[in-house]
């Protein structure tokens, strides 16, 4: 029983957490990929930027002596999401829109986004340094230890993990209703399916572009904040988080928000279960196994964790480039 609880703690919980973070990031990426038709390389740093905005707001409130029943960082995440969305629109106005209007090839936009990611990296590290920071400015995070009958080991869940899961569920439902019921959401799907046809039916593409950046930017901020609340805020995350999110986007099918959610959880679970030490779960069956149980039996050593999303990406690109949910191959 103890081993099962260990598996729940280390395998399932962390898979769910990292999966929802990847999913939140991948939704934005897939919408940008589908509507604006380029791979947005600056998404990882947009996440870091959002987390920093949250941290600054939280620190400001904590300095004023505000205390709330929820962690400050979670509460100020909502204004921070709005700020990040505005920043994302600003980045689009300054760097991507002129290129789009000049009729640049999509690959030039990809390159511009690489330039933007470097600029964001530079600015963030210039003002904040490279050390990692704790998002819980006012009080340490609460950890719940839930006793399980028949086991001495307890189920461990932290407060931000619960908040993250709730937030992901709410965000996904809200996004679903927005995309299927709201006028603008339907317009977004139309532009994603066929931009020319959408334009001649009178859809204002400008508004669609704005909506894309608002959703992408705010979800990126949420994902970044949640990730840094779960562990710590690391300013040097960018390229390491980018690869799993791209993998999730492509696995799910480009332009498919639901696919991105599924892809995010798939990549997250694959990653956690690949580095999970299986010998602990197998230990109760030690006598029945035909081989000696080694002390560490993970499929992938932790230092090669990045291999997992990459391999998923490669396999999908070879055998099913449209992704699970039949997205586009642009």
């Amino acid at each position: 029983m103890n081993d099962l609880v260990f598996f729940l703690n280390k395998g399932i919980t962390s898979g769910l957490i990292i999966g929802s973070i990847y999913a939140l990031g991948a939704i934005g990426l897939t919408l940008i990929f589908g509507i604006l038709r380029f791979a947005h390389f600056a998404h990882g740093d947009l996440m870091t930027l959002g987390a920093f905005v949250t941290l600054i707001l939280a620190a400001a409130l904590a300095a004023l002596g505000v205390t709330l029943p929820l962690p400050l960082a979670f509460v100020v995440m909502f204004p921070a999401m709005a700020i990040t969305a505005v920043l994302a629109i600003g980045l689009d106005k300054m760097f991507y829109k002129p290129l789009r209007q000049a009729g640049a090839r999509p690959v030039v936009l990809v390159m511009a986004s690489v330039g933007v990611t470097l600029m964001l990296q530079g600015v963030i590290r210039l003002f904040a340094g490279v050390r990692s920071r704790d998002m819980f400015v006012e009080a340490p995070k609460e950890i719940y230890r839930i006793p399980i009958p028949g086991a001495t080991r307890k189920l461990v869940v932290t407060e931000p993990q619960i908040l993250l899961m709730l937030f992901t569920i709410v965000a996904v439902i809200a996004l679903h209703f927005f995309l299927t019921r709201a006028r603008l959401g339907k317009a977004m799907r139309a532009v994603s399916d066929n931009p020319d046809l959408a334009r001649i039916t009178g859809i204002n593409t400008e508004h669609v572009v704005w909506a894309t950046w608002i959703i992408g930017g705010s979800l990126a901020c949420a994902a970044g904040t949640m990730l840094s609340m779960d562990v710590t805020l690391k300013p040097d995350l960018s390229f390491n988080i980018l690869l799993p999110i791209f993998a999730a986007t492509i696995v799910g099918g480009i332009g498919q928000p639901y696919g991105a959610i599924a892809g995010g959880f798939l990549v997250g679970f694959c990653e956690t279960l690949a580095v999970f030490n299986w010998s602990i779960v197998l230990r109760p069956f030690k006598d029945e196994l035909w081989f000696d149980l080694p002390s560490n039996m993970s499929l992938v050593p932790t230092e090669y964790k990045l291999m997992v999303p990459f391999l998923i990406l490669i396999i999908v690109l070879i055998y099913r480039p449209t992704g699970i949910f039949k997205g586009r191959v642009l």
Binding site: F41, P106, V107, V108, G122, V123, P309
Partner: protein, 425 residues
Amino acid sequence: MSSQTQNPIMRDIALFAALGVLVLVIFVSQGAVYSVRMLVEAGCYGIIALGLTIQWGYAGLFNVGIMGFIAAGAASSMLMTFPRNPDFWNSGGPELAGLFIVKLIACALALWLANNSNRWGVGPRLRALLITIAIAVSYLVLSFHMTVMSEEIEKASGWMGGLGLPVFFGWIIAGVIAGIIAWFVGKICLGLRSDYLAIATLGIAQIIKHFLKNADWLTNGTLTVSPMPWPVPSPADGEFLFARAAYLSVVAVALLITYLLLQRAYHSPWGRMMRAIRDNEEAAGAMGKNVNRRRLEIFILGCVLMGIGGAMLIHFTSIYDPSGFLDLNHTFLIWVMVILGGSGNNRGAIFGAIFVYIVWVMSEPLAVMLFATIATYGDQWLGWEAPSDFLSRALQMRVFVIGLTITLVLRLAPQGLLPERQARH
């Protein structure tokens, strides 16, 4: 714009003359030893930039994993040329390593057979199953063998050591290894849109770096390897300046040969075909050109050049340190060189490489000086106390400047300083 189209040759001469003056100023102000070092490194970057300019400028391929190909080239060249490690050869290591290669070939064969099983009448579902089994089994076999082998080798001899072969041979192998990796990446991604290639190259670069950092048995990991052998008498044998100048001449000759060959390729029917594919893929395909195959060719060729250039660069620094491969220095700096110099123009790539590298090297002390000044005056005038890692943040300023340069050049001068000149035949 009008003057450059009217008189491109004058523009070339003027820019290269200005570059010559800049180099001369540095020679006078910084001394010969320093300047020769800078020129050698700039020359190596020039070769890498030529590799990128044919990928981006000739074929429009977006490669953000240059660092990976440089690292792979440097590591393989190091393994070829570093003196042998007698401890390793006297232990059971070579046997294990040989067995690993045999298993690797067997697994590759099994995977190939599974992948081509549809030719022998195997249905799609069975084929998918066969492929899955082949991948799973070969992964388990190889990773288990690698764990055993790395423990065994690290216990017996620390690491494998090199093969002690001549340096020029090592450079060729560097190109070959980089080319093989490029073949894999290109085979998978080149049929799809260019964004996928960017994502995949970004990923492979991170993985190569992680692997080299952690593979202590193969490359000594983060413990670094030095001194790397030189193809010419190294500074340890005698004169410092003479040794560096000899290395410079080797690099210059390599750069010149590469340039001449690429220039010839650009004006050949092959080069015209490449530009046709870049400018209008559908039309080129309709003319019967095999678009993906040509792209694969040029992608591999570019990566081979990156591997060779990277090997030359790391041999010169004489210390092989896998943590020293940085996205900024070994990927994005080269992008700035190419797009600033002028993509699709070989002279532009060389000009960009040398000019940007000089600016890059000079900017480091300048940025530190600027930040030190800010810290001093901020303290004196405003009573603002700078954070303890303030000076190390000066380097982050350069990240910002690189990003800003990329976006500005793309927007304001997409053709670069020396624009591509389409030859009229």
